[in-house]
Structure formats: C-alpha cells, structure tokens
C-alpha cells in the first residue's frame, strides 16, 4: 500500500492539556474509501483526536498525515481536501442559509454551491431562513451540506447524530451514506453509540482513556473474535494471550477470544460475537500498553 491510499496515518500521536493527557501513543493507519467509526465513551479523547486530524489542534507528540500530507502545514490545498463537521454542528446563527452557502463559497477553493442548494431543496430547507431559527436536525443538514459541497476527500464528523432525534438521525445518516455511495469521499465519524454502526461502517477504531484499544476492518474483527462457552473454570484460561475477556456465571465460563477461529477445545462451544458486545468487551478491559490491538486491515 502506498502512502496516498491511506486516508489517515498517525504516529505516536498525543495531546496533553494542562489537566493531563487527553490522547496518548495513538498510532493509526486508516484506509481511504469507506466509512470509519471512532468509538469510545464520553471523555475518551475522541474530539481531541478528530481536532488533531483536521488541524484544529497541534499535537503535543507525534505526527498526523491526512491523504499523504502533514496537516500542520495548513495550506489552502490541504485544507480544502478535508471537511469537518464539529460537535453540535455550529453555524453562524444570524446568517441565513443562503449566507452560509456564500460563506462556504468565499472560503473554499472548489465549493459546489449548486450541489449544496440541490441537497437543501430536496430536504425542504428554505434558503432565506436564519440558521439559528432552524431545527436541530435542519441545522445539522445545513452543516453537512456545507461540508459536502466543499467536496472533501476526507470528511470528519464529531458525534454528528448525538444531539438529533431518531427521525433526524435517520435522515442525516441517509444523506451521509448517500454521499459516500456517490463515491470519492472517506468518512470518519465519532460516536458513543455502538449499535447501528455495523450497518454503516467498514472500519472501527475504539478509543478509551485516551488510548486506542482496538482498530481494524469490521468484518475482519468479527471473524477473528469468538465467544467460547464452556464449564466454569478459573484456571489457565489465557491460551497464548488470546483471551480478551472472561465472564464467569455459576456454571459456565464465557471467554471472548481473538484466535483467528482455531478449533475450540473439547467441551467448549464457539459462537460469533456481535459488534456491540465486542466493543463493550474492549471498553471494559483495563488498559495494558502491550495489549493495544491492531488488526489485519492495515496489513
């Protein structure tokens, strides 16, 4: 794989605020094309990582390379390749929607005003309304239309649907996925909600306590991990360090293992694991630096 086939590469990326490290030792290589989900609980460092990726923050350690370019360079060319939709989709509240589009046109190199207007017309959002008077879902749609009209190669969204009601959330994801289907854009978005991800995402990054605990292609991750259910036992569970999590009930022990589906020991039953359970298992795990897992997708 050559460098430009990666949408994003980070190496030893870290960010330290006065209070302490928000993100540490983040090394990622995410492929171009498709949808990447960044998952983690509140305060895990998702927003910090995304702001570092789009160049809003400067890293304390390490480097970020987006589409083969160092983001700290911040030239108009590199900036125009990355779109960003911040949390709570900020807009200039006193601008009309048309003025927001004019802002996009004035501040970008390859802004497609017609595209944005068509998208907004399809959603029935009037151009002469002030942005601040629109509903939350409509504001999110305007912000998304603005980011897409920039025609970025990488679109980064920070908790895009967190503040939306279920209907608006559905509509938003529909528009986003429609844009992905039209091709040409890699989408990276963060979320603390895990369900629904399987349907829309190709790639997963799990962040917890400022560290990457799991990253990989979702299909590969699901194929590599299994649940093994057997009689209750508390000894010698970890065969060559493949056990991610062990849960004991009165009579049974359930192991989550990452063993590439080698045959199970006699007396043990193997079951596939749902993505949500997989993510939760990794989030529950206490952090051990050596166990920071990377998967086959980057290989």
């Amino acid at each position: 794989m050559t460098a430009t086939e990666f949408a994003l590469r980070t190496d030893g990326l870290g960010k330290r605020y006065r209070k302490g490290w928000a993100l540490r030792d983040c090394t990622l290589a995410l492929p171009a094309g498709g949808v990447i989900a960044l998952v983690g609980p509140n305060g895990a460092g998702k927003t910090t990582l995304l702001r570092l990726i789009v160049g809003l923050l400067a890293p304390s350690t390490g480097t970020v390379e987006v589409l083969g370019h160092d983001v700290t360079a911040s030239t108009p060319q590199t900036l125009s390749r990355v779109g960003f939709l911040a949390q709570d989709h900020p807009l200039y509240k006193r601008f009309t929607v048309a003025e927001m589009l004019r802002f996009g046109r004035a501040c970008n190199l390859r802004f497609d005003q017609g595209l944005a207007e068509r998208r907004l017309a399809k959603l029935g959002i009037p151009l002469d309304r002030r942005a601040g008077t629109l509903s939350g879902g409509q504001q999110a749609q305007v912000a998304l239309a603005l980011a897409l009209a920039k025609r970025p190669d990488l679109l980064v969204l920070d908790e895009p649907v967190a503040s939306l009601d279920p209907l608006a959330r559905h509509e938003f994801l529909q528009v986003l996925m429609g844009a992905v289907a039209e091709g040409g854009v890699t989408v990276l978005f963060s979320s603390h909600v895990v369900h629904e991800l399987e349907r829309v995402c190709d790639h997963l990054v799990v962040l917890n306590h400022g560290r990457v605990t799991l990253t990989g292609d979702i299909d590969t991750l699901l194929a590599e991990h299994r649940l093994l259910v057997g009689p209750r036992t508390t000894t010698d569970l970890d065969r060559a360090g493949t056990v991610v999590e062990a849960v004991h009930s009165d009579r049974h022990t359930t192991l989550l293992v990452r063993d590439g589906a080698i045959p199970a020991a006699p007396g043990w039953q193997a079951r596939p694991i749902a993505l949500e359970d997989l993510v939760l298992a990794y989030l529950r795990r206490p952090f051990e630096p050596s166990a920071a897992a990377t998967s086959g997708a980057a290989a």
Binding site: A58, Q77, P90, Y92, K150
Partner: protein, 323 residues
C-alpha cells in the same frame, strides 16, 4: 473574506458609525457657533502679546454658552474604549463561544490568513472611527484650548494622536481577553477595566515623567501674587508642582512654610512682605505648552506598543493552535 468580515461585524460597525456620526455632526454644528465668537480665530487671542478686550468678552461668552458642553466632552474619554473593545471583544470570543471557530478554520482559508484579515479590518475600523471623532473633537475644542491650554486632562486625553492609540490598546486588550476567556461580554468588561486602570495610572504617574519638567523660581513679590512679574508658567503650561524655597533655593516643606506664615502673623506683619524680606522664593515645576506634541507622540507610542504586544499574544496563541 471581505464579505465575511463585513457580514459578521456589520452590526457593531454600523452602530458605532452611527454614534460617531451623530456626535460628530452635533459637535460640528455647536462648534461652528462657538468658533464664530472668535472672528480672527481663537489662537490669536492667546498670543503672547496678551489678551485683548474683545477676546476676554469672547472667552466669557464661550464659557457661559458652551462651557457645559466642554464639561460633557470630558466624558468622551471613554469613546476610544467603547470603539476598540466593542470591535475587538467579539473577534475571537464570539467564534469560540458559538463553536464556529471549528467551522471558520476548517475551510480552505488558513487560520493565520483569516486572523490577519480580521485584525487588519477591525483595527482599521477602530482607527478610522476614533480618528474621525478625535479630529472633530480637537477642532471643537480649539477656542477652549486657546484659553486653557492643551495639557489639562480634558484636553490632552481626547485630542490629537492619543485617543487613536487608546482605542487600539482597548482593541488589543479586548481581542486578547476574548481569546483567553472565550466570552465576548467578559472580554469587553476586562477591556473596560484595564483601560480605566492603565489610562489613569499612565496619565497620573507616567505622563509627567516623559520629559524633565522645567522649574521657574522667583522671589515672592512684596505685593503678593497680583504683583507677579510675568505669566511664567502661563496657564497653557502644565503645572506639576508649586511651592516655596528659601534664599539658597532649598525647597521648603509645607510645614516649614506654615511656620513662616505663623511667625508673620505673630509679628503682625504682612505675609508677602515678610516672605520677601526673608528672601523666600516661589517655585513652579511645569511642562511648557509647546511640549504637547512630544508628549502626545510618547504616550501614543506607549499605548500602540502595548496593543502590538497584546495582538502578538493573540497571533501566537492562534498560530500555536492553543485555542
């Protein structure tokens, strides 16, 4: 960028422009009438040849009819802070409090270019509005200045170059406070407080020391102040200190002076005569009126330099992506 800056800041610019325009026109109209009291120009009346009869009458009318405006004008020392802080406070703070900085700085305009354009445009408006207002005010005050000099606080602080420098200082404080506090209103408050504190301490402590003041020393005349030889220093000069010294030129403390006064009273002699025979001298420490522009330049440079440092801090923070 030009359109964006105008769209984002047109409310402040229009409100300030309207206020400056209204006060400016009012001052022009009133000033026209006040100037009309001096057909030959007010400056001639303050010539060294002394004040003519007609001039005295004119000045008396000026004081009676327009003196109240002069008193009101003293309040206009706040105009620079209103203009500067009103334009500076929202520059970054509004983007930070609404989260739109994330929108503004992820378009294809690099943040330093964005910041440079905003700073240049809004500092330019600050200078233009304050400059226009100060020009009108300085013109309006011409007859008053001819009478009272330009070194008094109600003249020096609102005339010439310094108001523009004050406004830039307020703009710098408000912008920097906005970048750090991330709120427009507190940033405005900080700028207001800093403006009052710095302006007052500079005017009272630093300004007298911009140059070594001159000292005029002469024996107390027999007949008291009425008999004083000449107007040195004149009313246009800026008097810093006034007191008495003995025959050798040693300055007397006020306690010593009161003792002399008491001695004169006990002896039953006329105080001035008593002081005269004792060889007591009267001294005045002052800055001559012609130092006005030197002092204006020094004070303006001081405030512009501080403004530049504050803007430098803002630029540094944005450049380092500390926001």
């Amino acid at each position: 960028m030009t359109w964006l800056i105008w769209r984002q800041h047109r409310t402040e610019v229009c409100v300030l422009g309207l206020l400056v325009g209204m006060f400016g026109v009012a001052l022009l109209v009133l000033g026209e009438q006040a100037h009309a009291l001096f057909p030959g120009g007010a400056a001639r009346c303050a010539g060294e040849t002394g004040v003519y009869e007609a001039c005295v009458a004119s000045f008396r009318r000026l004081d009676e009819e327009y003196g109240f405006i002069e008193n009101l004008l003293a309040g206009f020392y706040l105009v620079p802070v209103v203009i500067g802080a009103f334009l500076g406070a929202p520059l970054l703070a509004r983007e930070l409090e609404d989260g739109t900085w994330q929108l503004a700085w992820t378009q294809a305009v690099p943040r330093m270019r964005w910041l440079a354009a905003k700073l240049a445009a809004l500092a330019g408006v600050t200078v233009a509005l304050t400059g226009m207002f100060t020009a009108v005010l300085t013109w309006f005050r011409q007859p008053f200045d001819a009478w009272e000099g330009r070194f008094q606080y109600d003249a020096f602080d609102v005339e010439g170059l310094v108001p523009v420098a004050y406004a830039l200082f307020a703009f710098g404080v408000a912008t920097a406070a906005g970048a750090i506090l991330r709120r427009s209103l507190p940033a405005f408050g900080v700028a207001f407080g800093a403006f009052l504190a710095v302006r007052m301490s500079v005017a009272m402590l630093a300004r007298p020391a911009y140059a070594t003041p001159l000292t005029a020393m002469e024996p107390v005349p027999v007949g008291g102040p009425e008999e004083q030889a000449g107007p040195v220093p004149s009313s246009a000069d800026w008097m810093i200190e006034h007191g008495y010294a003995d025959a050798t030129g040693r300055r007397l403390s006020w306690a010593e002076y009161y003792e002399l006064e008491a001695t004169a009273n006990r002896a039953g002699t006329n105080l001035h005569q008593f002081l005269h025979t004792k060889g007591i001298q009267e001294f005045t420490v002052y800055h001559p009126a012609d130092r006005f522009w030197t002092f204006q330049l020094i004070e303006a440079a001081l405030f512009v330099a501080v403004a530049a440092i504050l803007i430098g801090v803002v630029v540094w923070r944005v450049r380092r992506r500390m926001i």
